[in-house]
């Protein structure tokens, strides 16, 4: 296997291992944060001496380091771990296989987008060794704080610029591949839902990311060329007036950022819907219920996601007209997600479900995403958002969507398609341990967050808000969250061991171990270069499970 390859499968695996590494790094950062919240002013056990005197003094974390950790945790998880895993790894590896194509439409561009991703990620993370440390203004990088932050913020912006170029190239590639390289007979309404989800996601990446790129350029100008795009007049920093022309608008950054970052939410969740749909159809041995409605919902959700962004900004003093508009669009956009989740739920009805490891993760996704989605509704209405804004409630809400939501779907996908990639199965016993450990661990961390947030605890406090009287009834929850973090970390060891061990020793499988209908199983596992020895021809829709009158309970798409 060459390091610089243009084969979509190699690039997909490069994305997979790089993004899993970033996922582990992002988790490691938050383990430190959770220790600090549970036991502030107590030395970090075992590894407290490794971070240097500027970050950790005698084992005790400094506030400056805490803000770096939480800012970089968010950045790494969203931009370097989950999106590259969902779109870079799954999209790259599976889209050409599922549509019967020999490769992506632009293989060299594809390789370029991986290497740009790696470069951008490394630039961002090098912030930790710069003077003043890594970016520390939150994953949202709000000015004026971010404008005057240390050099790590510049690394963040440069890294972000490069990452956006990378995701842009990747998105163009996936859209062109899906539109142009579908096998004969594979009409749009015969595409697996996974492919639809990737298509809509790619449009979001294509159209929503460039405004943040523009915003990153403006913030770089503020930091390096002394401009004041985001600096208002009359700022005082550390007791001295800031030397800047002023006249800029911090709110402008928020608009540009959330214009990206709300569609970004759907970039995180749509590929997850896609994976869960494939796994559920396969595990229930039934056609997906409401396939057409799901496709329509995904398209509607994608387009609506461009006009909801300011529901993140109810506290910026926008007038009631503006806020009414964004409240209405926000309520409307919850409808398609409900349609998709309900369709998946109804798909379970009457099925004889095979409780495989991927099915466990996919089934757990449904209620977990449900909690995440429903807790989001109060945040979409200004009246209830104003007291909840910037509390742990918000953190709990979006973590339910991204962690036991999206990440569970991604784990389901890894267990489900591992036999495709390697020709071997992952160990189901270790997989089940991984599932239950993650399920209990994640709920043990995120459920208390909702309670803390309702009690009014601000999400950015270095000591978890211990100095305030109103936080006292919920302070004790932090230690439970710490032990849940330990459990969650321990559960991931089962996954890592399983992944490495199964690569070398996993049980060899049949060509189509899950008895699936979609095209990726119409070739050998692992597939050869250019994927299909003879180009497949498609004769039916993607989910022909349990067809009446047939001898077997599935009819593959390529079978006449």
């Amino acid at each position: 296997m060459r390091i610089i390859s243009t084969d979509h499968k190699v690039i997909g695996l490069q994305y997979l291992f790089t993004s899993l590494t970033f996922l582990l790094l992002g988790f490691a950062l938050i383990v430190l944060v959770r220790w600090q919240l549970a036991y502030p002013a107590q030395p970090i056990p075992l590894i407290g001496g490794l971070f240097g005197e500027s970050n950790v003094v005698q084992g005790v974390m400094l506030p400056e380091f805490y803000t770096q950790l939480s800012a970089m945790h968010g950045t790494i998880m969203v931009f370097l771990a989950v999106v590259p895993l969902a779109v870079g790894a799954f999209g790259n590896y599976l889209v050409p296989l599922m549509i019967g194509a020999p490769d992506m439409a632009f293989p060299r561009l594809n390789a370029l987008s991986y290497w740009l991703y790696l470069a951008g990620g490394i630039v961002m993370v090098t912030g930790f060794v710069l003077p003043g440390g890594a970016a520390s203004s939150g994953w949202t990088s709000y000015p004026p704080l971010a404008d005057i932050a240390s050099a790590g913020q510049t690394a963040w912006l440069v890294g972000m610029f490069v990452l956006i170029v990378s995701s842009l190239l990747g998105a163009i590639n996936i859209i062109v591949t899906i539109m142009q390289l579908r096998a004969p007979g594979l009409t749009m309404m015969r595409l697996p839902f996974f492919v639809w989800a990737q298509l809509v996601t790619s449009f979001l990446l294509l159209l929503a990311f460039p405004p943040l790129q523009g915003a990153a350029v403006l913030q770089l100008m503020d930091r390096l060329a002394g401009t004041s795009f985001f600096l208002p007049s009359g700022l005082v920093v550390s007791g001295a007036p800031l030397r800047a022309t002023g006249g800029g608008s911090p709110i402008l950054w928020q608009h540009l950022f959330w214009f990206l970052a709300h569609p970004e939410v759907y970039v995180l969740i749509l590929p997850a819907f896609g994976i869960v749909a494939e796994v559920i159809a396969n595990a229930t041995r039934k056609p997906l219920w409401g396939y057409r409605a799901m496709v329509g919902s995904a398209l509607f959700m994608g387009s609506m996601s461009f006009i909801v962004w300011a529901h993140h900004m109810f506290l910026t003093g926008m007038g009631p007209t503006m806020s009414a508009f964004f409240q209405v669009t926000t309520m409307i956009i919850s409808v398609p997600s409900v349609i998709i989740v309900s369709s998946l739920l109804i798909s379970l009805y009457g099925g004889s479900i095979r409780f495989t490891v991927p099915a466990l993760f996919a089934l757990a996704f449904l209620p977990m995403f449900g909690i995440g989605g429903l807790t989001g509704l109060p945040l979409g209405l200004a009246a209830s958002d104003i007291p909840l804004h910037d509390t742990y409630y918000v953190v709990g809400h979006f973590h339910y969507i991204v962690a036991p939501g999206t990440l569970f779907a991604l784990f389901a996908g890894i267990y489900y398609w591992f036999p495709k990639v390697t020709g071997r199965m992952m160990n189901p016993r270790l997989g089940t341990l991984h599932f239950w450990g993650s399920f209990i661990g994640m709920n043990g961390i995120f459920l208390p967050m909702l309670i803390e947030g309702l009690a009014g605890v601000n999400r950015r406090l270095y000591d978890g808000g211990r100095t305030y009287a109103f936080t006292q009834p919920v302070i004790h929850l932090y230690s439970g969250q710490w032990w849940s973090t330990v459990l969650l970390g321990a559960a991931q060891l089962f996954f890592i061991v399983n992944l490495v061990w199964s690569l070398a020793r996993g049980k060899r499988t049949a060509e189509n171990p899950w008895q699936s209908t979609t095209l990726e199983w119409a070739t050998t596992s692992p597939p050869p270069h250019e994927n299909f020895p003879t180009p497949p021809r498609v004769h039916r829709g993607p989910y022909d499970y349990s067809p009446p009158g047939a001898a077997i309970d599935f009819l593959p798409q390529h079978q006449p």
């Binding site: 632009f106 062109v176 004041s228 402008l252 250019e530």
Partner: protein
């Protein structure tokens, strides 16, 4: 072999590269759209906004506009020209693009010498950001031109024609962005 690199796919009616370039242009529209929106927001909320006619050299602006539009015309012409002539037109267009970059550089140098740097006010901050990003697009266009001309022998005429078609569209966008900059900075 990847299909539809040269011939059109029947049901979509396009080649891969033709669809790809339109998607890319859509993302470029979003990039510049965001920046021009920022321009509008900062300008309407500014207590004072300099008149471009007074602080920028309008004749520089006119020269850039003529050179870049001529350049785009040549590249668009190259799309319907026979293969050999198309490469000549592209080379001539590249020369004009270099002329644009040189005159733009001379203009910037003069402005910086007068102390009109990005940190003077929001007008100049926006001016340098947008013209700088635009010049970066001109440089990328030059790289694309060289790639099409130099790669022509290797990939053949049909593929090169597809590339020149896409490059022409890209230059048209670069020219349109310039016209917007000319209008918003030099003439108001």
């Amino acid at each position: 072999m990847i299909p539809y690199t040269v011939e059109r796919r029947a049901d979509t009616g396009v080649t891969n590269v033709r669809l790809g370039i339109w998607l890319f242009l859509a993302s470029e529209v979003m990039l510049f759209g965001a920046l021009f929106s920022s321009y509008a927001l900062l300008r309407v909320s500014a207590p004072a906004w300099p008149h471009g006619l007074e602080v920028l050299g309008v004749w520089f602006g006119v020269t850039h506009t003529i050179v870049l539009s001529l350049m785009t015309a040549l590249v668009l012409r190259a799309r319907s020209a026979p293969a050999g002539q198309a490469r000549t037109l592209l080379a001539a267009g590249s020369f004009l693009a270099i002329v644009f970059l040189v005159t733009k550089g001379v203009e910037w140098r003069g402005e910086i010498a007068q102390g009109l740097v990005p940190s003077v006010n929001t007008f100049f901050a926006m001016y340098y950001t947008l013209t700088g990003l635009h010049a970066l697009h001109v440089v990328c266009g030059l790289v694309a031109n060289a790639w099409a001309v130099l790669g022509a022998r290797r990939v053949g005429d049909a593929m090169t024609a597809g590339r020149i078609y896409s490059i022409g569209l890209y230059w048209a966008l670069v020219d349109l962005v310039w016209l917007a900059i000319f209008l918003l900075f030099y003439l108001t």
